[in-house]
Structure formats: structure tokens, C-alpha cells
């Protein structure tokens, strides 16, 4: 909890510092007098400049609409890339020691807040994470998940579509991470797959394209809304659906509740399994959700 508090605090502090420094840049003109010649004009938002991509290399994320790359964030991400190392062939995923070490590096990047977004995307646009990509990339994406910025969400959705349209093999593993990040950012998202639902399996490109399309539609439907508003709507719907006779609705409701109200999700998942008429596959899916709820609720309890 200490760490999470410090991360949140750092993000808030970082955001405040950005706001304060932006305000300090704009000097108010003296009433009734022309501004002195040496007074700087308000700074225009600079576009992020990066080296052009080498021929044949794809850069999924268009960062031209974001601010310039913050050198401090860029440096901190470099450190994160070397610190957050874990073999992608570990069955259990990153070890607790690897996670703890990585969390320190993450906290340093998180202090940048929104101004760090360009640097984060620039790092994700290169393949320097290729060696140990699954862990360092997922943690780098998770930094974006903490931001509330519609522009950043757009960059991610456009990036997802580009990965699909360009069939960018090197980035195909990012599709799932982008979806996860967008859900974290928006506090909700398009309908998730239902584990017991049979459907045709297609190749990765078709799946990524479908995900990009779903997120585009979601963005359009929620244009201009703050995260709090989206979350409020999603939670209200989830609370209404958690006991639905339609198991798919109930399953998705619990999935939404896990993120914001894990104890409520846990109770709903347990309650649903008590139904006598559930097929094994459905009961199994809710049991699996229950263990996720317990894990999520555990941190809330500690807090």
C-alpha cells in the first residue's frame, strides 16, 4: 500500500507540477500597457519529434499530437527496460523478486504523469524491448493505463488498428496489452469474450482488427466523457446485470466489478455459482472469476 500510495502521490504531484510549470510560462500583460518586447509568447504545444522509422520498420503509435519527448521520462524508461526483466517462458510469469525490482523503476517513470506519454509511446514504437518484451512492455503499457487522456486513448486505438492493417508481427503481442491498457484508462471497454461461448477461431490479424474496430466504436460512443462518468455508467450496468439469468451478462458484470469493486464482484461470483441449473463450463468460468476477485479484493483488504 505504501508503494501504491507513493505511485498515486507521484502521479498527482507530477500532474500538479506540469500544470504549475505551464501556468508559470504564461506571463500576464500589465493592464493598459503594451507588453514589453522581451516577454515570451505563450509556448505552443510542441509536437514530439522522433527519428524517422528505418525502412520496413513499423511504428504503430502516432505521437505527433502529443507534447515533446520528456528527456527525464525517456531516461527513466531506459532504466525500466533494463530493470523489468523476466523470461517470457516462465510458467508462473514474473517472479515476486522481479516484480518488486520492476516496481521501483515503474514508480520513477510514473512521476512524469501526462507529460511522460510521448516518451512512453516513443519507447513502445521501437523494438528495444524485443529481448524481454513481454514483461517490460506490459509494465510500460501499464503506465499509460494510469493516465486519463482521450488523446492518449486515441493514439492507442489508432496504433491497434495500424498493427492489424500493417500485419506488424513484431507488435502482435501488444494487441492484448493495448486492450488491457485502454480498459484501465477508460475504466470500461467493449464487450469481452465469454469463455464458454463457442466461436470461430481466426488468425491474429483478424482478431486484432476486430478489437481495434470495437475500441473505435467505444471511443465514438464515449467521446468527451471523463473516466469517472464512463466508470459510473459501467458500474451501474454491472450492478444491474450481476444477477441476470443471462449468464453472459452476469459474467461481464462481474468482470467490470473486479476492477472497481472487487469485494462486490467476489460476492456476485460466489452467489452466481450457487445456481443449480448452471452448465459445468459456466460454473467453471465463474469459479475462475472468483479466484481473480479474491486476489483483487486481497489488496483492498490490506489497504
Amino acid at each position: 500500500m505504501m508503494r501504491s500510495t507513493s505511485v498515486i502521490f507521484s502521479v498527482v504531484l507530477g500532474g500538479l507540477l506540469v500544470a504549475l510549470s505551464a501556468a508559470a510560462d504564461v506571463k500576464a500583460p500589465i493592464a493598459g500597457k503594451a507588453p514589453p518586447a522581451e516577454v515570451e509568447k505563450p509556448k505552443q504545444k510542441q509536437a514530439a519529434k522522433t527519428e524517422p522509422a528505418p525502412e520496413g520498420e513499423i511504428r504503430p503509435f502516432d505521437i505527433s499530437g502529443l507534447g515533446p519527448i520528456d528527456p527525464a521520462t525517456d531516461k527513466a524508461i531506459g532504466a525500466l527496460d533494463t530493470t523489468c526483466r523476466s523470461s517470457e517462458f516462465r510458467r508462473e510469469g514474473p517472479s515476486q523478486a522481479e516484480v518488486a525490482k520492476c516496481n521501483v523503476a515503474i514508480a520513477k517513470v510514473a512521476t512524469s504523469g501526462k507529460k511522460g506519454a510521448s516518451a512512453i509511446f516513443a519507447s513502445l514504437n521501437t523494438l528495444r524491448h524485443q529481448k524481454m518484451r513481454s514483461f517490460s512492455r506490459s509494465r510500460t503499457f501499464s503506465l499509460l493505463g494510469k493516465l486519463e487522456d482521450e488523446t492518449v486513448r486515441d493514439v492507442l486505438v489508432t496504433g491497434l488498428a495500424k498493427i492489424a492493417s500493417e500485419k506488424a508481427s513484431a507488435y502482435v503481442g501488444d494487441a492484448r496489452l493495448i486492450d488491457q491498457t485502454l480498459r484501465e484508462m477508460a475504466g470500461s471497454g467493449p464487450l469481452t469474450a465469454i469463455p464458454w461461448e463457442e466461436k470461430t477461431v481466426r488468425d491474429s490479424w483478424q482478431s486484432v482488427a476486430a478489437s481495434a474496430e470495437a475500441w473505435r466504436a467505444f471511443q465514438k460512443a464515449n467521446a468527451g466523457k471523463k473516466r469517472a462518468e464512463i466508470v459510473k455508467e459501467a458500474l451501474a450496468l454491472a450492478r444491474a446485470d450481476r444477477k441476470s439469468d443471462d449468464a453472459k451478462k452476469a459474467y461481464r458484470a462481474v468482470e467490470v466489478l473486479i476492477q472497481r469493486a472487487p469485494k462486490e464482484a467476489l460476492a456476485a461470483a460466489r452467489q452466481y455459482q450457487k445456481r443449480s441449473d448452471l452448465p459445468d463450463a459456466v460454473r467453471g468460468a465463474f469459479a475462475s472469476l472468483e479466484s481473480r476477485c479474491e486476489w483483487a479484493a486481497e489488496a483492498k483488504s490490506k489497504a
Binding site: 508503494r3 508462473e92 463457442e198 477461431v201 488468425d203 463450463a281 467453471g284 475462475s288 481473480r292 483483487a296
Partner: protein, 376 residues
């Protein structure tokens, strides 16, 4: 499924039925008190108490081999005996040196540290399943006779429970999420009445002409067994794609099962009349897909299963439909398609540098002939 595979499947089903009947007979004829009511300590992902010590277990194992030579020969070439030395396991253990792994791969040693060489060499040995305290146990009781020990009956050795402790277990750090789910998959299948031993320990003839249960536990080394697990057929779906429909057949669990990295690859290519490949579809992989969830409060990471696209066990779900997009009009072309079993993905196999890891087994393949017009 080829005619050989069908034959194999029929043979397996027959053995399975015999196995089920034998188990039932054993259960009916021998009371649970035959083993004094004590629970049989089967190997599992935990240190296994062996009060007599490793040296005694190794000596006893050698004695088993001395008399039961046919069975010992089968076991010597098995993955049970190679449980520790298997190069793929060794590569995986180097990445995750966990006590949890040692409990099943060197069950005769204390799992908290590197097992002694003797325990490594025995792997999952004769004694692991058949020596309980000072008793030799089997599915049926046999009285001692001159030069031969008695066998104490524990019918559970002939049931799925005997395999469950090492073939059904959760991720240690993700409670509730199975890392291997074979036993539960089996329970949901139409083969649930047939124990694992029914298919994986078929009755075979020994050199003496006496039948015994095979102890070679072959799965991946038995290509026919892998091929009998599923059937598939393919049809055009529009002019630029095909749909492969895959159904479970002889496997009494999901296919593939066991280790979380196993998968099926479905691929297709369009070929002209001269045999020239005109287009290749992006392959589709059928597997369990895992990801990691990071808890925002403390940054803790937990494994989650994002999808399971494997072939469900027989009776537990419909055929798996796979669509392969070829990207060109294939009406005038033949389309060759293949379903292959892979132990792990190519990147992992390359990283492990083990030839065995790169092996794949073609399960079924076929050709869709060219057509002028598509049927409506």
C-alpha cells in the same frame, strides 16, 4: 482420421473398457481395508515422505527392475523415468527453479533442494507408485510365494486419482487457476468412466506371453496416439478462405492437454496446378492463452487465462471451427491444409535449443480440390 488411426482408436477403446472393468472388479472384490485404511502417498508437487530414506528406495527400485524386466524395460524409456533428465524440463527448471517442480520430477527426494543424482536417475520410479512403507502395492492383491513378495491391493492405483497429484494442479501464485487441468477435462468428457490407465497403460503382451499393463506411458513418442486424438475436415468458406472443423475423437481430455505451452497449429496454402504455392494463410494456433494482470494497488502480478481455444474433450463441446484467410481468390486452386501438434511455440523451442522441443506431429491433413463456382 486414417484407417490406422481408427484401428488404433478402436484398440484403445477396447483396452479402456477392459481397464474400466478390471478397476470395477478390483474395487468390488477387495475391501478398502486391504491397505489398512491408510491413504496411499502418491507423488505430487510437494515433498514426499519416505521414512526409509532415498537409498532404500533406490535399492528397492533396482530390485523391481531385477525381476520385472519387461516392465522395467518399458519404464526405462519412458518420460516418467526421464522426468528429471528430460532436456525440455531441464531448460524450464533453469528458468524457474521451484520446489513445486521438483516434487513431481524427482519425487523420491526432498523437493526443497537439488535432488541427489540417485533420485534424478529414478525419476518417477517403480517405487514411487508401488512402494508404500514396506508394502508393495498394486491394483490387485497377490499372496507371497517362494521368492516373490506379496502385493497389497489398493484399487486407487488403477484410478485417475493415482495420476491426479502430478497431472492436475494450480499455479502456485494464482489460486484457482489450473496450470495443468487434465483430470478435470477428463471428468467432463464422455470418457470419464475410463481411468487414465485405460488408454495410457494399455494391456500388452510380454515376451513370456503374459499380458501386463504397459509402463512406457508414451504419448508424444506415440504419433498414432496423437493422431487418434482428433478428426478434422475442411471446406471453402467463400473464395478466399477455408474453414477447418476439428472434433475430439480418441482423447479423453482437451487436445492438447498437459503443459500449458502445448498447442495445435492449423495452416493452409493455395497451390496451382503445377504445385506452386500461390498464397499462404496466417497460421491459427489452438492453445490456452495466458496473460498477466497487474494489481494497481501494489503492482503484484498474477497469471490469468485469457482464452482456451483447444479442442474440447469428447462430449464437452462442439467441433472447433477455424477460419483461415488466404488473401487471394482460390477457386481455381487447390488448398492444402494441415493440423499439427506442437510441444511449444517456435520462439520457445528456439530459445530452449532442444531438438525435441522443435518436433511437431502432423495430426491430420487434406487437400480441397479446385472448383469453378462455389456452392451456395
Amino acid at each position: 482420421m486414417s484407417s490406422e488411426s481408427l484401428l488404433r482408436f478402436a484398440k484403445m477403446a477396447r483396452f479402456a473398457l477392459i481397464g474400466a472393468l478390471l478397476s470395477a472388479a478390483a474395487c468390488a472384490g477387495i475391501s478398502a481395508t486391504a491397505f489398512g485404511g491408510a491413504q496411499l502417498a502418491l507423488p505430487g508437487p510437494a515433498p514426499r515422505p519416505r521414512p526409509s530414506g532415498l537409498a532404500a528406495a533406490v535399492t528397492e527400485n533396482a530390485k523391481c527392475e531385477g525381476c520385472h524386466q519387461d516392465i522395467a524395460k518399458e519404464w526405462r524409456g519412458s518420460l516418467h523415468q526421464q522426468a528429471w533428465h528430460d532436456p525440455v524440463f531441464q531448460k524450464a527448471l533453469a528458468i524457474e527453479p521451484e520446489a513445486f517442480c521438483r516434487g513431481c520430477h524427482a519425487p523420491e527426494a526432498d523437493a526443497s533442494g537439488e535432488p541427489p543424482k540417485a533420485a534424478q536417475d529414478v525419476g518417477v520410479g517403480c517405487v514411487t507408485c508401488h512402494l508404500q512403507g514396506s508394502d508393495v502395492v498394486g491394483t490387485r492383491a497377490v499372496a507371497a510365494k517362494a521368492g516373490a513378495h506379496a502385493v497389497v491391493a489398493d484399487p486407487r492405483l488403477g484410478t485417475t486419482d493415482a495420476c491426479a497429484s502430478c497431472h492436475q494442479f494450480e499455479f502456485p501464485r494464482a489460486k484457482g487457476l489450473p496450470m495443468q487441468n487434465t483430470v478435470r477435462e477428463h471428468a467432463s468428457s464422455s470418457f470419464s468412466a475410463v481411468a487414465c490407465q485405460g488408454c495410457h497403460m494399455p494391456a500388452v503382451d510380454g515376451p513370456s506371453g503374459r499380458k501386463h499393463r504397459s509402463h512406457d506411458f508414451s504419448v508424444m513418442s506415440d504419433k498414432d496416439m496423437i493422431r487418434s486424438a482428433a478428426t478434422a475436415r475442411a471446406l471453402r468458406s467463400g473464395s478466399r478462405a477455408i474453414t477447418v472443423s476439428i472434433s475430439a475423437a480418441g482423447a479423453g481430455h482437451s487436445f492438447p492437454t498437459g503443459d500449458m505451452f502445448r498447442r495445435l497449429e492449423v495452416r493452409a496454402e493455395a497451390v496451382d496446378a503445377d504445385g506452386l504455392v500461390i498464397a499462404r494463410a496466417a497460421p491459427v494456433h489452438l492453445a490456452r492463452v495466458f496473460g498477466d494482470h497487474t494489481r494497481p494497488e501494489d503492482g503484484a502480478v498474477r497469471r490469468v487465462e485469457l482464452a482456451d481455444t483447444r479442442i474440447p474433450p469428447p462430449g464437452a463441446g462442439p467441433a472447433r471451427e477455424v477460419e483461415l484467410e488466404l488473401g487471394v481468390d482460390t477457386r481455381g486452386l487447390s488448398v492444402r491444409w494441415t493440423l499439427a501438434y506442437q510441444r511449444m511455440d517456435h520462439a520457445m523451442a528456439a530459445s530452449f535449443g532442444v531438438e525435441q522441443a522443435r518436433d511437431e506431429i502432423e495430426v491430420v491433413s487434406g487437400v480441397i480440390e479446385p472448383v469453378e463456382e462455389l456452392k451456395k
